[in-house]
């Protein structure tokens, strides 16, 4: 094939490539650059190169380490334990349940997922507030009430993320479970394997690729949650629910340290890129 012909054939790629280079690859490159400068929001003519100072500073900064810890807690609680497990449980139950119940539950769970992030934040804010629904239920059950957003803010935002994100895992696992041939489960049943053993020895190994994919995508999504936490707690009280995205935002804008905020962003991006590579390896037969 001639070079000219090849060029003409690749031409339709041009608009997408230009957009991606200018608005996605460009900012990432710029991110790498300003993470090594002391760029500030105001009043500074030009930023100067400071090497790894921003990163050294981060690892000595208690607020940063606090954000890393909270991000880990938030991710493990809401993505690994919450969305993933609950999504699998719902999908497995749906295989057995009657059709109206299946449709109803699926509808409600998916609605929570489709709802705009900020609205989801308000709904869960109302749910967890001192005068909100959760405490009303606890009163009704004669259980002690809590000021959830004050005493356990990370737990509250983690639950919020489970509420909002479980539908995705549920859909992935529903599709995966549908892909298991009925003969296999039936054969195991005839051999006398009970529900839990079937789940552990047959179902889970057969859907392990879906589990990997789902964990990866859930974690990536959870790492970048901003709006939900912002609406519910603004990262507070104090910084007790300040995950990395909120910390990055605060450094860059409330404290005007764009360089420092970007260094934190770069770390977040690196973690994301690492997960992304693992995800690609899981999918490698697909491309």
């Amino acid at each position: 094939m001639s070079g000219r012909r090849r060029l003409v054939r690749a031409l339709p790629l041009a608009p997408a490539v230009v957009l991606l280079l200018l608005f996605l690859a460009g900012p990432i490159a710029y991110c790498v650059y300003i993470a090594f400068t002391d760029l500030q929001l105001t009043g500074q003519a030009r930023a100067s190169f400071v090497g790894f100072a921003n990163f050294r500073r981060a690892f000595r900064d208690d607020a940063f380490l606090n954000a890393v810890r909270l991000t880990l807690v938030f991710t493990v609680l809401s993505s690994l334990l919450g969305q993933n497990t609950l999504g699998l449980a719902l999908a497995a139950l749906m295989k057995r349940a009657s059709k109206p119940v299946r449709t109803l539950t699926g509808g409600v769970v998916v609605t929570a997922w489709v709802l705009p992030e900020v609205v989801a934040g308000f709904l869960l804010y109302a749910f967890f507030r001192r005068e909100g629904t959760l405490n009303a239920i606890l009163d009704w059950l004669h259980l002690p009430r809590q000021n959830w957003l004050f005493t356990l803010p990370v737990l509250a935002v983690s639950f919020a993320n489970v509420w909002r994100g479980t539908a995705f895992s549920m859909l992935v696992y529903s599709a995966a479970l549908d892909g298991i041939p009925a003969e296999i489960t039936e054969a195991a049943e005839v051999d006398g394997a009970g529900g839990w053993r079937r789940m552990w020895h047959i179902t889970l190994p057969m859907i392990r690729r879906s589990i990997g994919t789902n964990l990866m995508l859930n974690t990536l999504q959870t790492l970048s949650v901003f709006g939900l936490i912002w609406v519910m707690t603004r990262g507070g009280p104090g910084n007790r629910s300040q995950t990395l995205p909120l910390f990055m935002y605060e450094q860059a804008f409330q404290n005007s340290m764009i360089g420092y905020g970007t260094a934190v962003a770069l770390l977040l991006l690196l973690v994301g890129a690492l997960f992304s590579v693992v995800y690609l390896r899981l999918l490698r037969t697909e491309v």
Binding site: I28, C31, L266, Y279
Partner: protein, 275 residues
């Protein structure tokens, strides 16, 4: 055995209903409060139904302008995304090239990058090139951030359209663009709808991107302006907040229902991540 099966089904039904109630409680709050004249933060039967909350917020300032801004932003960016993705998917799906695999791998890699992390540098960059606080800048960024996934989806859907029809068109002298627009795209209507709706829904709900890139209150989409119910208006009118949330959420939920029904539940996931 049949009895065991019946009781198992019953147990599953009960568990699912408990989960459904738990998930429905926050949703019930927004629906009930929106028609409650004395709404507060807990789920309760309204004291007298009213449309007062809706009347109060259906003004240009509170509702119409932000929704129109959302529509311009998300509509413009979706059109750009879908157009670019359709063009890009065509050579990726139809012609073999050594570059296809690395390109698709980079695209897939980009789909899972946390966009949140690059917003600070994007802000700094936009200040530099004077795109900050402009609708067109935000549209371009939205489109670019959604493009990787859109290209990936679009390419998968396009692979499902048989080539024979196009080959007939090629013999009749149609070029690539003509066969894309006249033959391939019409044949992948449902796929096109999924990509369009998915992009639109993602952008409609996005808070962080417009929150960072737009500054003027008049330009803010609904996802950002909804926060004004807390900040500037003193006492929070929860009924009005709920009513606004209902109006703001309705378009994306209806779009989702439309597409989900047409594709029978599996939605985008079937094409996006067989795994």
């Amino acid at each position: 055995m049949p009895r065991a099966r019946v009781s198992r089904r019953l147990a599953a039904d009960v568990c699912l209903l408990v989960a459904a109630v738990a998930f429905a409680l926050p949703l019930a709050w927004v629906l009930l409060s929106s028609v409650d004249a004395h709404a507060d933060l807990r789920v309760k039967v309204p004291h007298g139904l009213t449309l007062g909350n809706f009347h109060a917020i259906l003004t240009p300032d509170i509702t119409y302008t932000p929704l129109l801004n959302s529509l311009i932003l998300c509509g413009g960016a979706t059109a750009l995304t879908v157009g670019c993705a359709a063009l890009a998917a065509y050579p990726l799906s139809r012609f073999r090239s050594r570059l296809n695999r690395p390109f698709l791998l980079s695209i897939l890699f980009a789909t899972s990058l946390p966009i949140t992390a690059i917003m600070v540098p994007v802000y700094a960059l936009f200040v530099r090139v004077n795109l900050i606080d402009t609708l067109q800048g935000t549209i371009l960024f939205f489109a670019a951030s959604q493009l990787p996934f859109a290209i990936w989806l679009m390419k998968n859907f396009m692979d499902g359209v048989p080539r024979e029809l196009e080959e007939a068109a090629w013999t009749d002298g149609a070029n690539a663009l003509q066969s894309l627009v006249r033959i391939v795209l019409p044949l992948m209507g449902p796929g096109l709808a999924v990509v369009t709706v998915f992009s639109f829904v993602m952008m409609w709900g996005s808070f962080f991107v417009p929150f960072m890139l737009l500054l003027t209150p008049d330009q803010m989409p609904a996802s950002v302006s909804v926060n004004d119910f807390f900040g500037n208006r003193g006492m929070v009118a929860y009924g009005q907040l709920a009513a606004f949330s209902v109006i703001y959420s309705t378009p994306v939920i209806s779009l989702y229902v439309l597409v989900a029904r047409r594709l029978g539940g599996g939605f985008a996931l079937g094409g996006a991540m067989k795994g």
